[in-house]
């Protein structure tokens, strides 16, 4: 068993090393297949371990080596295999291998082909470290690693300066969150004298409920999660990160890296349950993020930007679930979101590929007859995210809605509106892209073609998963023996209290009310679909260039000018500090150093004048010296 665990982590690392060192000289098919095979092998191993696990299984700790001991805190390097980490591993490696396969086709014309797969494998390795670690420090290593890979992959086409700026923006914003996370980890280590999950869980009981210590710790951890999972205020990097190749957006910014924040909170559920204040904060931030991002997505023209804001919004949903104490619901939504968002991104990549790298929806339209497979799978993805009945997205989102209603009906109302907004922008995206007249150039029309099979196959697989993925956690009214499978399965990961809290929330709604809510949601879905279809297909409403929007549309398209605000407030300040520092260095420090140097040189020049080569002066000085010595001697007698 231990060897299998090591294999899961080390196979992608091996792929990284081989492709990194030798990839330049290997043929493309070898590079791509090797990378994909490594990730797929990890997936198979994870599935085999999963077969042996059930909801009663205890966590398996695989200790690799003793790392270090500081001040009585013993820190080991090891992996923890339990239900939560297995679920994450399967998501990561499963969707990861599909995206690797897709990338073979998508990046086939790129000069940096081997570099891409090197970075992808490194990313999978870091992400696996993150979810498989047995203590917070290993999580942090993985955290940093995925931040680095995110930077490398966003700025993959490094010759373009804008892309480089986007990569830097992502990295720096992540860093701010990382600092908070690190402080949280330090506090945990200081308070409980341990950093591994099991020990901290045991000792968590001694924190007083809602005390300032636990609030500080959980707030720090949450701020770290904010950076990585793109919540307010650290979310502006994610839309800019669309500068990277589409498979990168699919893998990192839809399915895996951004969910690291949610994983962190679920992993630390024993801490968060003790701090209801922070949970309230998480709820608020989740709502704010979901609302803002949804608002922006309504009037974006770039197909990837819409999906990016959609991701931020859905992450907001997941944090809302966490804020309500519904941990397994959040994980469920992570899983379904991974399915349909990866599908949507890969589908968008397929569209972009067909449109000869055009990303602006104003020049698309009527593509459904040219790229049928992409169209079909994209439609399934859109339906899933918008909440078509019985698709995975609807089930997981409905669970969040129910939990919200249980806490406070007002929350349900907000969430309902947000779900409506989600459906609106997704259908807008779909209709503008695939329906109506083709609005692009003749040349683009010529090149329209369906993507090769290594790109369409992952689309199909993800579409199937998007449809069926919800079935593992059906609400309990559907039928005995089949419901709430996921929640039951993940139970050992949560503490008693967390679980009790969650169960109370989820079953706090009477059956009748729940049916009414469900009915309202489904009705809303169909209404929105009809209205949007009417607007964009029948009335042929067009998407305008950004500058032509007015009123609320302009605010939406310009993203409420938040980017500009950050630029003015923070970026300019830091740059100003940098300039100040440069002036200080040049003006004062440099001058001082030069002054010392010049002083030495000048004193040398002054001393040089003694050596004038004139014999007379030499003799004079000699005799003068003798005379003075004699006189001094004489006086001292």
């Amino acid at each position: 068993m231990e060897n299998l665990v090591y294999a899961i982590v080390l196979l992608p690392l091996l792929g990284f090393l081989i492709n990194g060192l030798f990839g330049k000289n290997l043929p493309k098919i070898v590079v791509g297949s090797l990378a994909t095979a490594m990730v797929f092998a990890s997936f198979c191993i994870a599935v085999s371990i999963f077969m042996g696990f059930n909801s009663e299984s205890q966590p398996v700790i695989v200790k690799a080596f003793e790392w270090f001991r500081v001040n009585g805190v013993q820190i080991n390097f090891g992996f923890q295999i339990d239900q939560l980490s297995l679920m994450m591993i399967m998501i990561i490696t499963g969707i990861g291998s599909l995206i690797h396969l897709y990338s073979i086709g998508y990046m086939s014309h790129d000069k940096g082909f081997y570099k891409f797969f090197t970075y992808l494998n490194l990313f999978i390795f870091s992400m696996l470290l993150l979810v498989m670690g047995s203590n917070y420090l290993i999580l942090f290593i993985g955290w940093e690693g995925v931040g680095l890979c995110s930077y490398l992959l966003i700025g993959f086409w490094y010759t373009n300066e804008e892309y480089g700026k986007a990569a830097r923006k992502a990295f720096i914003m992540n860093r701010i969150g990382d600092l908070a996370l690190l402080i949280g980890i330090f506090m945990i280590a200081g308070q409980t004298n341990a950093v591994d999950y099991l020990t901290v869980a045991e000792n968590a009981g001694k924190f007083e409920l809602d005390g300032s210590v636990i609030i500080f710790i959980t707030a720090s951890l949450f701020i770290g999660a904010t950076g990585k999972s793109a919540q307010v205020p650290l979310y502006t990097w994610l839309p800019d990160a669309m500068a990277g190749p589409t498979p990168v957006s699919a893998l990192i910014h839809a399915a895996t890296m951004v969910t690291a924040g949610i994983y962190l909170v679920v992993r630390s559920n024993f801490l968060f349950t003790l701090a209801p204040t922070v949970q309230g904060g998480i709820l608020f931030i989740g709502f704010l993020t979901a609302a803002l991002a949804g608002f922006y997505a309504l009037r974006q023209n770039d197909i990837k930007k819409v999906l990016a804001y959609s991701t931020v919004s859905q992450l907001g949903f997941m944090f809302i679930a966490l804020g309500l104490g519904a941990y397994t619901t959040a994980m469920f939504h992570v899983m379904t979101h991974a399915f349909f968002k990866a599908l949507l991104f890969l589908g968008a990549g397929s569209v972009i590929h067909a449109m000869s790298n055009e990303q602006d929806m104003r020049f698309m339209g009527g593509l459904k007859k040219y790229i049928p497979i992409t169209h079909a799978t994209f439609l399934i993805g859109t339906l899933a995210i918008s909440g078509f009945p019985l698709l995975s997205g609807m089930i997981s989102k409905d669970e969040i809605l129910v939990a919200a209603f249980a806490k406070n009906p007002i929350y349900w109302v907000f969430l309902f509106i947000l779900a409506a907004i989600t459906a609106t922008y997704m259908f807008r995206l779909y209709y503008l892209t695939f329906h109506g007249e083709f609005r692009g150039t003749e040349e683009q029309k010529h090149h329209l073609h369906e993507s090769p099979s290594n790109m369409t196959l992952p689309l199909i697989v993800l579409a199937i998963l998007s449809v069926l993925g919800g079935l593992i956690n059906l609400p309990h009214f559907i039928g005995h023996g089949h419901y709430a499978k996921l929640m039951e399965w993940l139970k050992p990961v949560l503490t008693e209290e967390s679980f009790k809290q969650m169960e109370a929330t989820l079953s706090g709604v009477p059956f009748g009310t729940e049916m009414i809510l469900l009915g309202a949601t489904v009705l809303m879905f169909f209404c929105v679909w009809f209205i949007v279809k009417n607007t964009y297909v029948n009335k042929k409403k067009q998407a305008l260039p950004e500058a032509q929007y007015t009123g609320w549309e302009k605010l939406s398209a310009k993203k409420l000018y938040v980017d500009e605000l950050y630029n003015a407030l923070i970026v300019k300040t830091v740059e100003g500090l940098g300039r100040g520092g440069k002036m200080f260095d040049k003006g004062i420090l440099d001058r001082f150093v030069d002054f010392v140097g010049e002083g030495a040189e000048d004193s040398g020049k002054a001393m040089k004048r003694i050596q004038n080569g004139n014999v007379e002066t030499y003799i004079l000085i000699m005799s003068l010296a003798v005379g003075i010595i004699l006189i001094v001697n004489f006086i001292l007698q």
Partner: protein, 165 residues
């Protein structure tokens, strides 16, 4: 009588030395230096240092000064004037020499006069016979080394003076 002789010879020595230091024409300067040498030889005779007196005349006044004159004549400088010297340097020079004089005299003031017992002094100490006995009995080694020194001087002078080594 002795005092008069002493002061006469001393006066001649100092006068010719002064002229030597301040003369414009180098030839006249060297000539007055010869007079100084002779007067010092006279001093030696007054001190009953007969050997030294003779050596002084033969070696110093006879050989060294002639060598000076020889070089001077060869360089054909006796018609030239020296260029003017920087006034500041002159002043400092005089000052230095004065300083030195005061210093030396000051040092010598500490010499106790009464340590010189005059009565029982061997008066024949300057005679050639006595000096010769001393030289070849006690100071043989320095004597031999002096001869090597002169040899080195000869070789050195010849080497330096050659046109191509």
């Amino acid at each position: 009588m002795d005092q008069f002789l002493f002061f006469l010879v001393a006066f001649i020595a100092v006068a010719s030395a002064v002229y030597f230091v301040f003369a414009r024409n180098p030839l006249y300067a060297i000539l007055s230096l010869i007079v100084t040498m002779f007067s010092i030889a006279g001093m030696y005779i007054l001190l009953n240092a007969q050997f030294l007196a003779i050596i002084q005349i033969i070696v110093y006044a006879g050989a060294i000064m002639v060598l000076f004159l020889y070089i001077l004549m060869m360089l054909n400088l006796n018609k030239q004037d020296e260029s003017k010297k920087n006034n500041t340097l002159k002043f400092i020079g005089v000052f230095t020499a004065g300083l030195l004089l005061i210093g030396v005299l000051g040092v010598f003031r500490g010499v106790q006069q009464n340590q010189v017992v005059v009565e029982n002094v061997d008066k024949g100490v300057g005679l050639t016979k006595n000096l010769g006995r001393l030289l070849f009995n006690e100071y043989v080694l320095p004597f031999e080394l002096a001869s090597i020194l002169i040899l080195a001087g000869i070789v050195g002078a010849v080497l330096i003076g050659k046109k191509d080594l």
